[in-house]
């Protein structure tokens, strides 16, 4: 694209040229193979929103001649209750060695690796990989303060070392230290494991150990078996709420009453277009023993999954939280880019305690997507909650994608989901 040609020119001329280049690609967007510059703009307005209307701009940049560098940014601005507001969700520059031996990113991003809890930071993360399967990571930065708030003396550093064993097993050890106002707020060592000893079996686990107040802060494990149209997963977890809090919090000194969960999930593709998913778990929470379970059925109305119907039944039965719920969804393509979708949920608490006998929630939405990258969606949401006997909200979203660019939300297939591979 012309952006590459003007890359060495005067900055202002370069900016103008880039803007012109972006504008000139609108009709060509669908034919470009790998767009060096991609722009997406979203506007969301809702009657009940805390910062509505909101405008988001996403810019992704990469260069076919320099595949070792790319950048991504998402900034947004909205009208707050009393004044304008906004923030930077992501602003990242990524450099990577073409063969994958090294990878570095800097800017604002979500850091999550090994047993390190996800945290959004302004900082850097470097990964080095050796041909024999060793990986060394190091990271550091300042935990993000939302809405450009003032910073205190906060920072975070850590790293991870991992080794692949026999191509089917990866073992990792991680360390993180975080400071708030200069005080130690979190210091953990962790271990993680991922194994795929057979094509039909994979296992993953991690555990984080609190060094400040010695004890297990969090541990999770999952083992899954796949066989034709079936998938069976066994999972377990332990969480220590007191240790997940920053060690600078007064509430972190109350002691350790961890909760444990052991459960299983089964997925069965009962028919080419019908998926059944069931999950159940036993729980030992601080208040006593309990459990939860749900059953979900999804019926695709066509081979591509443009339309679908879904039904979910759920039951939670742990002390102080006992309720049943049902949720139904429908997505119906109407042709010419139009799609109607609807979602209904009804939750019935066992002990209403003045919060209402049932909490219904419903949404109806109509969306339209053009071939040129425009998308408009309007929705009406209505509910009854413990706080509000009746509540209604209207939402309108307008999106425009310049060049092929993925949605801001993972799993959002849009109206034309890509096929699997």
């Amino acid at each position: 694209m012309s952006c590459k040609i003007t890359a060495n020119g005067h900055p202002r001329r370069r900016l103008v040229a880039c803007a012109a280049a972006i504008a000139s690609t609108v009709p060509l967007a669908s034919r470009v193979r790998a767009d060096p510059l991609r722009l997406r703009a979203d506007a969301l307005a809702e009657t009940q929103g805390a910062s509505s209307p909101t405008g988001l701009i996403v810019l992704q940049g990469e260069d076919a001649r320099r595949p070792w560098v790319n950048a991504e940014g998402l900034v947004w601005a909205g009208a707050g209750a009393s004044s304008a507001t906004g923030d930077v969700l992501v602003l990242t520059l990524r450099l990577h060695e073409p063969h994958g031996y090294a990878d570095a990113r800097a800017g604002r991003f979500v850091l999550a690796t090994g047993a390190v809890h996800p945290v959004q930071i302004d900082g850097a993360h470097v990964i080095a990989r050796a041909p024999w399967g060793s990986t060394v990571e190091t990271f550091g930065g300042l935990p993000v303060v939302p809405r450009f708030g003032t910073r205190s003396y906060d920072w975070l550093v850590g790293g991870r070392v991992a080794q692949r064993v026999a191509s089917a097993l990866t073992l990792g050890v991680s360390y993180v230290q975080r400071r708030e106002d200069g005080e130690l707020s979190n210091e953990e060592v962790g271990a993680d494991l991922a194994a795929a000893p057979a094509r039909w079996l994979d296992v993953a686990a991690f555990g984080a150990y609190d060094v400040t107040s010695p004890g297990l802060a969090e541990a999770r494990a999952s083992a899954a078996v796949r066989w034709t149209d079936w998938r069976f997963e066994l999972f377990a977890s332990q969480l220590s709420p007191g240790r997940l809090l920053p060690a600078t919090s007064l509430f972190s000194v109350l002691g350790d009453v961890p909760s444990q969960t052991l459960g299983a999930t089964v997925r069965w593709r009962a028919a080419p277009r019908l998926d059944l998913l069931a999950s159940g778990a036993g729980q030992d929470v601080a208040a006593g023993l309990g459990g939860n379970g749900w059953l979900r059925a999804t019926l695709r109305l066509d081979d591509r999954g443009d339309g679908s119907l879904g039904l979910e039944l759920r039951r939670v039965d742990v002390p102080d939280a006992e309720w049943s719920g049902v949720r139904a969804i429908a997505a119906l393509p109407l042709g010419k880019g139009l799609r109607y979708s609807s979602e209904i949920e009804i939750v019935v608490p066992d002990h209403p305690d003045g919060r209402g006998v049932a909490w219904p929630w419903g949404l109806s939405a109509l969306s339209w997507r053009s071939r040129g990258g425009w998308e408009v969606a309007g929705a009406v949401e209505a509910s009854s909650t413990p706080l509000h006997r009746y509540e209604a909200d209207a939402l309108v979203r307008l999106s425009c994608a310049l060049g092929s660019i993925s949605s801001n939300v993972p799993g959002s297939g849009g109206q034309q989901p890509a096929p699997s591979r």
Binding site: R33, A50, L56, L74, T92, Y101, V110, T113, G114, P118, Q120, I127, G133, S167, T170, D192, A205, F206, V211, S213, A221, A224, R231, E233, F235, L239, P241, G242, L244, A247, S249, L250, V253, L254, G255, S259, R267, A271, P272, R273, L277, V285, A286, G290, D320, A321, I329, R339, W359, A365, A377, R397, S407, N408, V409, G411, G413, P419, S420, R421
Partner: protein
């Protein structure tokens, strides 16, 4: 006689309808191309897909033209294009996606498999969207790619995975309860996740303080999107938090609830206070020990002074530490110990 047939006929219609809805029978107006019939008649693949043996990474797709069809089918039943009816529209779409997103050329592969196309296109006779392209597992049958997998070097085959947007179905499977499962799966392979997912997709949930709206609102109109906070979450969030103590803390910072609770007047001594009458007299201690993160979600930071007033050393609140509590912190100088144990605390 007539009455006797009504039942079986009705049942047959119902079964046929169910079979169509469930995808067991295809009832779309277009027809999947009859690959099987052609193969059984002894027609070799390259007789129709003639250009495939010379097709490079780019260029037009190697789909047969009407002229190729008419070499055998001398009397077509009408003058419309053959591909208008024979062959599902998605086949071309899938092939175009592959052409744009995969670095692949047929000639060298055809030599390797001695012209046996079915070695890779084993499911070509099944008319389904996912049977057109060989699965990645098929590629791995010959190409091990272990080093590339370890190095997260996908560019050798994939032009742009983030743009491609195709969900993997034979490796890194995303089915099951992926919302709960993805954390433990990503622990050892976050950088592998990043080969397809953008930074902002992670941040849309995990950038808890900097997101402009809940993820489902940014994708309003797509009800198939799963998410922790979708549907009537606002109504059930208290019960969700109680059912899994500490789960909120894995993403949200302490005191993250204050903004909303203040806006909704669910705070302080208002009629909407989440605390029942008599809360301060003893019940609060039990509940705080069960899930201290729920207390911190509103009373964290400056709000901690509320606790210190009673629970400082020598205060009327008594010792708040649970049995077996230990810490490496300096009692007199470090936070939060100094709030109660510090000089003058």
């Amino acid at each position: 006689m007539r009455t006797g047939l009504t039942g079986p006929m009705g049942l047959s219609v119902a079964l046929a309808a169910c079979a169509g809805v469930l995808g067991l029978r295809h009832d779309v107006p277009s027809y999947p191309f009859e690959h099987r019939a052609h193969v059984l008649r002894g027609v070799n693949c390259v007789e129709c897909h003639a250009d495939v043996s010379s097709a490079g990474e780019t260029g037009p797709l190697h789909f047969p033209t009407d002229a190729v069809c008419r070499r055998c089918h001398e009397k077509p039943h009408d003058e419309r294009s053959c591909q208008g009816c024979h062959g599902e529209p998605y086949v071309r779409q899938v092939a175009e996606l592959a052409r744009a997103q995969l670095r692949f050329e047929h000639p060298s592969h055809m030599v390797a498999v001695h012209g046996d196309c079915v070695r890779c296109h084993s499911a070509v006779t099944e008319a389904r969207p996912d049977s057109v392209l060989p699965k990645m597992a098929t590629c791995f049958g010959c190409h091990q790619h272990r080093d590339q997998w370890t190095q997260r070097d996908c560019d050798g085959c994939h032009v742009d995975l983030r743009d491609e947007g195709a969900a993997p179905d034979d490796h890194l499977v995303h089915d099951g309860d992926f919302l709960r499962e993805h954390g433990v799966r990503a622990a050892s392979a976050r950088d592998l996740c990043a080969s397809c997912h953008t930074e902002r997709q992670c941040a849309s949930c995990h950038g808890a303080g900097t997101v402009p709206a809940l993820p489902w609102k940014l994708a309003v109109g797509d009800v198939s999107l799963s998410g922790l906070h979708r549907a009537g979450f606002a109504a059930r969030h208290v019960d969700e938090a109680r059912a899994d103590p500490g789960i909120c803390t894995t993403c949200h910072t302490e005191s993250s609830c204050v903004d909303c609770h203040t806006r909704e007047s669910v705070a302080g001594t208002t009629a909407r206070s989440p605390h029942p009458p008599g809360w301060a007299s003893g019940e609060h201690g039990v509940q705080a020990r069960l899930d201290p993160s729920s207390c911190a979600s509103c009373h964290g930071g400056a709000g901690e002074q509320l606790c210190v007033g009673c629970h400082r050393v020598g205060g009327p609140g008594g010792n708040p530490h649970g049995a077996g509590f230990t810490s490496h912190k300096d009692t007199h100088h470090d936070m939060p110990c100094r709030l109660c144990h510090g000089v003058g605390g």
